[in-house]
């Protein structure tokens, strides 16, 4: 093993873009993020150090343009057959440095995917929003305003609840939607996002998927109020807060696709989110390996390097082995997504695909939580020390385990698929 790049990837899956772009991206990250990340925690509110890094990555390097078609100034990634694998690469590299930063970028893509991925493409909205992201060198964020105060992750449990518990309402008045509701905790809220994708209901209490609407709301629209960012255990680069929609009006055509299609196009976000989460986690674990390797090579037990003690070797060997395994599985999950247009592939909304990808994300989350905890223990006295970076990831990756419905929703979706459960 020469370094963290030697963890396994299924070689047949690697996208043509991978080799070149990954090295450019990594150079940016090593220059703009790595040297400063230990100061991020104290910068959670102001983003005085964090924002310039975003500008470099998203604006200057241009990551925020990646999804849009070339005719709008973007890179056209959504038209390739490797969008999941591209996302995986991006999220893994960013996750290695800072998963909070990684999620802020990935979630900017999230609401845009609803209108950019075949078969759910809305050219008018693409043309409407592309300039906002493509014609600037400053970082521009989007957010998916999903979670509501009472419902927790109910919205992501579409398979079972079918939007029945959504309380944010959209009412059509003439050629405008009027939106009312209270959302909280989305990534890139707390003042960061310029554009929200808002899942809402056109008929409260209905579990008819035709009543589910996905509507875009510019953050500056009248009636949108945002609270400041919450203070949390980690992930300072990702701001989260409350968003209130009080009789917010947007054009009628700001709805993504229309009855039925909205729900389907929105449901596609689940596999994207889970694959990205898996990539954040493997990226963070690869960085953990780098630091851990340094520690076990230079510090000793019985006056021999820790890694030369068979008992310690077994512990760290298992950690590295798990990283290898997680990376294989993460790429397989990405490939499941990219197979959607192949004859043997599955649509992104199929129960099988969702169940299997949730299962992989749940597995990788568990391994990450377990192995970061273990790695801190290997460092022992130095485990909780921020200078070793592992405790930072340890705080951050727990959040990844908990979001998007957390562990239990993953477990239920996967059980539902594997055992044809009807009520769980």
């Amino acid at each position: 093993m020469n370094g963290f790049d030697d963890f396994s990837r299924p070689m047949e899956y690697i996208s043509p873009l991978d080799r070149h772009f990954r090295s450019v991206l990594r150079r940016y990250i090593e220059q703009e993020v790595m040297p400063f990340r230990r100061q991020y925690d104290e910068d959670w509110k102001d983003h005085a150090i964090i924002e310039p890094a975003f500008d470099k990555l998203m604006g200057e390097l241009g990551l925020q343009k990646a999804l849009f078609p070339p005719e709008h100034g973007g890179w056209g990634i959504t038209r390739s057959d490797y969008i999941f694998r591209f996302a995986y690469m991006l999220c893994e590299e960013l996750g290695r440095a800072d998963t909070g930063m990684a999620v802020a970028l990935a979630v900017t893509f999230w609401p845009l995917l609803v209108i950019l991925v075949e078969p759910f493409v809305n050219e008018r909205l693409i043309a409407e929003f592309a300039p906002m992201f493509c014609n600037t060198k400053k970082a521009v964020f989007a957010a998916n305003a999903m979670t509501e105060p009472q419902g927790g992750s109910d919205i992501e449990n579409m398979g079972l609840l079918r939007g029945r518990t959504i309380r944010t309402t959209a009412r059509l008045e003439g050629d405008q939607w009027v939106i009312n509701g209270h959302k909280l905790w989305p990534t890139n809220s707390g003042g960061a996002a310029s554009l929200f994708g808002v899942p809402c209901t056109t008929r409260p209490g209905s579990d008819d998927l035709n009543d589910f609407a996905f509507i875009y709301v510019p953050a500056g629209a009248e009636g949108v109020t945002q609270g400041g960012p919450y203070e949390k255990a980690g992930m300072a680069a990702d701001k989260n807060g409350d968003i209130f929609f009080d009789h917010v009006r947007v054009p009628a055509w700001y709805r993504a696709h229309g009855p039925g299609s909205d729900a389907e196009a929105f449901y596609q976000l689940i596999p994207f989110g889970q694959v990205a989460s898996s990539a954040f986690l493997t990226g963070a674990m690869m960085n953990m390996y780098e630091r851990l390797n340094e520690f076990v090579s230079s510090r000793t037990y019985r006056n021999r390097p820790l890694k030369e003690n068979d008992a310690v070797a077994a512990i760290i060997g298992r950690i590295a082995g798990d990283i290898d395994i997680c990376r294989i599985l993460g790429h397989e999950a990405a490939m499941m997504g990219d197979r959607r247009n192949k004859p043997y592939g599955l649509p992104l909304t199929s129960e099988e695909l969702v169940g299997k990808i949730r299962n992989i994300k749940d597995f990788i989350s568990d391994r990450a939580v377990e192995n970061f905890g273990k790695a801190m223990d290997v460092l022992g006295l130095y485990g909780p020390d921020r200078d070793w970076d592992i405790e930072k990831h340890w705080r951050d990756i727990k959040i990844i385990q908990l979001w998007m419905g957390g562990k239990q929703l993953c477990q239920m979706e996967s059980a539902r698929y594997f055992f044809n459960c009807e009520t769980v």
């Binding site: 255990a233 008992a311 909780p384 979001w403």
Partner: protein, 413 residues
């Protein structure tokens, strides 16, 4: 602990005496009134505001003298038979704040070890005790063994590197060592209790005042948890101490380790119990799947059960450990060896169990789990920090070597 908790989390021990119960009740009230009932105020600038609450506990309530012998004006909870009571008190404190618990644990460990191994030298106990009777907060900071540096041989204590050196010369002794990492509170302590190697390379203990000439400190270490305690690496350049501040007995090192495993176990147990209270409240009031109270969903209930189970079993095991502490009074090394091994084993297992309890409970809390506002994440960071620092280095491997040595007579590991 609130009454309800005691009905739920049973303890194997027989009842405790009235005096002890009185202390426990006082501390419980302090925790509930001063800290837990009042937590939202602590959201900003938490560490500094906490200082004052700790003063109440240490000085007004006098807990700083908990393990000071009675004949020196303390509570006298420094004997092996008292360990189960110390455990109870530290658990109550841990419910409120791990940092405070860690401080008191280090103080108690100091007196427990010093009174036992300095029998013939009442001078040390006298001077220590009288300083703890003053109306000023006292804090001992322990520096144990740690990982060595590749290429540099060090003396060992059960495989672990001893990074400080002590040498007696006449009526004084000198202590040296570079970049030693205390368990906690390196910047706040008024004395260090340091595991050293004597001139033969044998493990011993040195008590060093922080204001002795020749001590240098690094910048404050930023750490995952125990926010209220400022730690830093310490370097000692031939620091001179009185000779009776040196305890030249390897058993003292074993005993210190056993005491800390037990006591810090109690602190984490308390955090676990308070986390249980937090997650109980949460699961009683939140609704999932569009209508079910969280605790009534079988999967959530089973996660909740994991949390309760881990805490209950950690409590049992820690009390069992407290129960065997008197074995250290048995002559010969087997009593001390047994207790040392069991303390390492149960200490590690209890910390891991409580950590798992919290990790599982957090799974149910979603964003409330990591929002600072709910304080669940504070217990999570604090317990993990305690657990990591008690590992020493190499995760559970050194403890497993201790266990194998005791149970299988291994000699080369």
């Amino acid at each position: 602990m609130i009454g309800n908790l005691e009905g739920l989390f049973l303890m194997p021990e027989k009842g405790i005496d009235e005096e002890t119960q009185g202390v426990v009740t006082l501390v419980r009230r302090w925790a509930d009134k001063e800290v837990i009932g009042d937590r939202l105020e602590y959201r900003r600038n938490y560490p500094s505001r906490f200082d004052e609450k700790r003063k109440t506990l240490f000085l007004a309530m006098g807990l700083q003298r908990l393990a000071v012998p009675e004949e020196h004006g303390g509570f006298g909870w420094h004997t092996p038979g008292r360990m189960r009571h110390v455990l109870r008190v530290l658990t109550e404190i841990g419910r409120a704040d791990c940092s405070t618990g860690v401080l008191l644990a280090m103080n108690c460990a100091l007196f427990t070890v010093v009174t036992r191994f300095c029998d013939g030298r009442n001078g040390l106990t006298d001077s220590l005790a009288s300083s703890y009777l003053e109306d000023e907060m006292k804090t001992a900071s322990c520096i144990l063994t740690g990982p060595g540096h590749a290429g540099r041989e060090t003396p060992l204590f059960k495989g672990r590197s001893i990074l400080a050196r002590a040498a007696a010369a006449g009526e004084s002794a000198t202590v040296s060592g570079e970049d030693l990492r205390p368990l906690a509170a390196g910047l706040a302590a008024d004395r260090f209790l340091i595991v050293c190697a004597d001139s033969d390379g044998s493990p011993c203990l040195a008590l060093v005042p922080v204001d002795a000439p020749g001590i240098a400190r690094s910048e404050r270490v930023k750490a995952a948890g125990l926010d209220a305690l400022a730690n830093a690496d310490i370097s000692l350049d031939a620091v001179t101490i009185p000779k009776d501040h040196l305890i030249l007995d390897q058993d003292a090192v074993s005993y210190l380790s056993a005491c800390l495993n037990l006591m810090l176990g109690g602190v984490s147990l308390g955090a676990g119990l308070n986390f249980f209270e937090i997650v109980s409240d949460w699961s009683d009031s939140r609704v999932i799947k569009g209508g079910t109270v969280l605790k009534e969903n079988p999967l959530c209930a089973s996660v909740l059960a994991d949390t309760a189970e881990e805490i209950a079993c950690a409590g049992f095991l820690l009390h069992d450990l407290a129960g065997i502490m008197p074995l250290t009074d048995h002559p010969g090394p087997s009593g001390m060896e047994a207790v040392y091994t069991y303390s390492a084993m149960i200490g590690a297992k209890a910390q891991q169990g409580i950590m798992r309890a919290i990790n599982r409970g957090l799974e149910l809390m979603g964003s409330a789990g990591y929002a600072r506002e709910w304080h669940a994440e504070k217990h999570w960071r604090d317990v993990k920090t305690i657990q990591s620092i008690m590992c020493g280095t190499g995760a559970e491997a050194p403890v497993k070597m201790d266990i194998a040595r005791f149970f299988y007579n291994c000699s080369e590991i």
